[in-house]
Symmetry: C2
Subunit: 543 residues, 2 copies
């Protein structure tokens, strides 16, 4: 027997219509690639999203066809989020930090029909457009008069001319909620990138979970700054969750340096900011140099890579800002866990609380997780046992776009590729990526643990710990350090720092100093590149 | 094209499993009808819910069959919520405040197969059991040794014996999420009661929305006291939302007097309490008499009837507790709106904020609402235009159980029977039930407005404003007043109180004093009874 409730699908269009109707005058503020600040409201955005839908109709873009973006976080990108998906097309957010060949490969694999790009990416588009064989229409996210006369791109139109010709009245289709809504490719450190194809249902459910008090806690009293790019797993769903709750949105455009981010936080009364550790490193450096304080910022969501404990300390102790350590994946829309204390932990002394706050957090409802040993047997939640992390839930992929890579699931569970512990309270701690673990004489050494210690050293700006081959122990840890500007730490100095902090056999065998650690297109350290670079490094003990 | 996300239904079983796994040791505290305090955890509750499922299997209760309860808020009732619905049966929460004949009518209409009752309702059950012709099994919610030897009820078993014989291991069925999960009858002031049949999907979506920061804002740091009964629209969904978030649950049993509620709030560190205005009236009276203060309570959700502004004031000014004024209906699972300020209102002076806080609040995402004139034309959201309120959304009924009353929808919208304004910020204000509006000479007088003013008078404990026939004006308002103990207000005294507070023509024509105002089974004033009682009342002006 079925219940007798209204049959209303969970559709992305309903998010923007809700914001229009109930939060029509709530502001959306964008730093444009042009450099100036643009302001308008959810009501304006909803009207322009409807124009996008009509423009796609006029161009005969079919249901399910992909409309790609190469764009920073901004209001036009936001309109495309709703206009494209809401009307039944699939929004494909391309990562402009990828190399041109990669952009071409992904755009062709996705069979993008329309590609909308920020003018700052015109050089990239010029380099790729002739090889993107499925794209029929190129749209520059600018005013008509900002369009260069000689772009060299056939039929290039400006976004404003394109949607300006369309009506702002539109009836959103009553789609099946399982309809594909957006597409995001994994960074693909090994093999070809693979696409995660989100549905309307998964997106709306994820927005509900992301807005909960124990996740990002979004309300109509918040001013939200997604520093995490909208081309990186839909800015962790913040555009959808903000529309669901009527939160003020602040988009940083391409200016992600510490000073620009700080100024935007202050001028727009930002209460919640979300981004990867490397961005916060820049922000904290700026704060320290400028002697600046936050006047409205309450909390930062930090994910994408493990957040060094030192950073959590600094935000909390020096600036009174709570860090919400989070964990997720492109394949998970992306949120899996967020670190918020439980009621029983509130009375603990700060040091004890910090032991929990450095973990990646608890599962949000909808996400189920388990850790297993190499034979697939479930391991206990005791904070000690470490194993492969598997997840399932309604916003986690069942397969990749076009079936690439076959069936990724194991008995219905998605293997994350992370190695983790889970404690008795359900707090997850990622100990490593399974491919980054250092396997030394049958024991595992967590590269993240070793890096976190190095990051607490006053002269270390960034540190990566990688495995190098060892004749006796199979692998041993090598620490790659990028010193802070003006400091000159030496090997012995760094190694001494490990005394008493880890077991002797976990201390790196050697330390090398570099000017820069390579970062991938999503801001993560590219340890694979470091492993290649130092493949032949001779460790002192084995020399 | 469909998205490629995991196909995982929104099931009630997943809520309790989530709580078991992630909040296993979070407490559930119950004041039992036996009088003592019972404590256990979500993990215990989950195990016992699985026992319930196995016990129903053993009794061959079919999928979709109704399992009824006549019970206060407590841990056994909580177990039934999950064990019954999670295993595919329908939980039917009977209202024990109804008259025996009504209980019989509803139980037979619902075709209940099993009926579980608190021992405090044994007299009621004895009076009805032989006429409840579909019930095959009677279960007393007590220990085996508390069962009376001569209950007179054939085959009566104790709950503890019943589930004690069953295993606590059970695999919840992967139901279609639209499967019926629970059934609640409207109080039915006119005609027969009608059943709202909720689904798993509607229940889980409602829990998401109810837990959002702009609704009840539930987290694992909260201690939640649902004073609103679990037989009244599932205690507004708090049991589900608490399981979703790992909040501590505190159940008051049948002790809803001010002193008992206050003591539980203090002893269990309650941060959020939810109930109807009449309960809070009792609590506030106790607080005033005892000179008591709250040490942990942060907010109260008040719904079921309009909350008098004076109560909002008292909670806020005297006790520092925020009142979340809310509005909903049995047909809406029940939440429609909750009153939380928007960011732009935070800087307003308290008096200005109060003008918004006395309204019923903004729609939560998922609920769409509109007001229409008698011809069905949509009215503006200007805070002035008042019209019939219609709603739609995935946790609002499409029809009543067994199709009673035909198709209740108008073009897909459910007519609430309320008359309301909506302001430009989306804040709803119920001006009246359409049947309670006083139609005086072509103008409408809101009975609620008139009552709220009376309630602010220091000598008025409760007040009801009803229409009485009038030869010239069709109808005129009569105020029925229940004075506070020890006070003796007179007619002129009360009427003087309206001077300057409403237009002259809205002032009641007369005031009558009563010892008690009749309350319905859900704590609402029964104005229909008052209208009958005072049908022949002669108004002075018309005398």
């Amino acid at each position: 027997m079925l219940g007798l409730m209204q049959d209303q699908g969970l559709l992305i269009s309903s998010l923007i219509e809700f914001a229009d109707r109930n939060h029509g005058d709530a502001p959306i503020v964008s730093r444009r690639v042009e450099g100036d600040i643009h302001r308008y409201t959810y009501r304006d955005a909803a009207g322009r999203a409807r124009r996008v839908a009509n423009a796609l109709d006029a161009d005969a873009i079919e249901q399910g066809e992909r409309v790609a973006t190469l764009a920073w976080n901004g209001y036009r990108h936001f309109e495309l989020y709703f206009g494209v998906s809401g009307s039944g097309r699939v929004l494909h957010t391309l990562n402009p930090r990828l190399a041109p060949d990669q952009v071409v490969w992904i755009a062709n694999h996705a069979e993008d029909r329309v590609l909308c790009f920020d003018m700052s990416f015109l050089p990239l588009v010029k380099a790729v457009w002739q090889r993107c064989t499925t794209v029929r229409k190129w749209v520059a996210l600018c005013e008509a008069d900002a369009l260069p006369a000689d772009s060299g791109i056939d039929g290039l139109v400006s976004y404003e001319a394109w949607i300006g010709a369309a009506s702002d009245r539109y009836t959103w289709p009553a789609l099946d909620e399982r309809t594909a809504a957006s597409l995001c490719y994994t960074s693909g450190t090994t093999g070809n990138p693979k696409g995660a194809l989100y549905s309307h249902r998964s997106t709306v459910l994820h927005a509900f979970a992301a807005a909960l008090p124990d996740a990002m806690s979004l309300s109509a009293r918040d001013s939200v700054l997604p520093v995490v790019p909208m081309f990186h797993v839909n800015a962790w769903g913040t555009p959808y969750a903000a529309a669901m709750t009527g939160a003020k949105l602040v988009f940083p455009g391409g200016a992600l340096d510490g000073k620009s981010v700080y100024e935007l936080i202050e001028s727009e009364g930002v209460t919640l900011a979300a981004g990867v550790p490397t961005v916060w490193l820049g922000l904290l450096n700026h704060m320290a140099q400028a002697g600046a304080r936050f006047s409205t910022l309450q909390r930062t969501v930090i994910g994408g890579s493990a957040c060094p404990p030192a950073m959590i300390h600094t935000f909390k102790e020096q600036y009174g800002v709570a860090v919400l350590h989070a964990w997720g994946m492109t394949e998970m829309s992306p949120l899996g866990t967020v670190c918020n204390l439980k009621g029983k932990q509130l009375a603990l002394p700060p040091d004890e609380q910090m032991k929990t706050l450095v973990k990646q957090g608890r599962a949000i409802y909808g996400v189920d997780m388990k850790i297993v040993d190499p034979e697939g047997r479930e391991l206990p939640w005791d904070g000690q046992a470490s194993g492969d992390l598997l997840v399932k839930g309604p916003w986690i992929i069942s397969s990749y776009f076009k079936g690439e890579g076959g069936d990724p699931l194991r008995d219905g569970w998605f293997p994350t590729g992370d190695v983790a512990t889970i404690d008795a309270d359900g707090f997850l701690q990622i100990t490593d990526r399974s491919k980054d673990v250092i396997k030394s004489g049958g024991e595992w050494i967590s590269s993240i643990d070793i890096e976190n210690i190095a990051m607490a050293h006053p002269a270390v700006a960034m540190a990566a710990c990688i495995a190098v081959p060892h004749p006796k122990w199979d692998e041993r840890p090598l620490l790659v350090v990028m010193p802070k500007p003006g400091t000159h730490p030496d090997r012995a100095d760094i190694l001494r720092f490990y005394e008493g902090r880890v077991a002797k056999w976990q201390v790196p065998d050697d330390v090398v100093f570099v000017d820069a650690i390579p970062l991938g297109a999503t801001g993560k350290m590219q340890k694979m590149k470091l492993r290649e670079q130092f493949r032949d490094h001779v460790l002192p003990a084995a020399g």
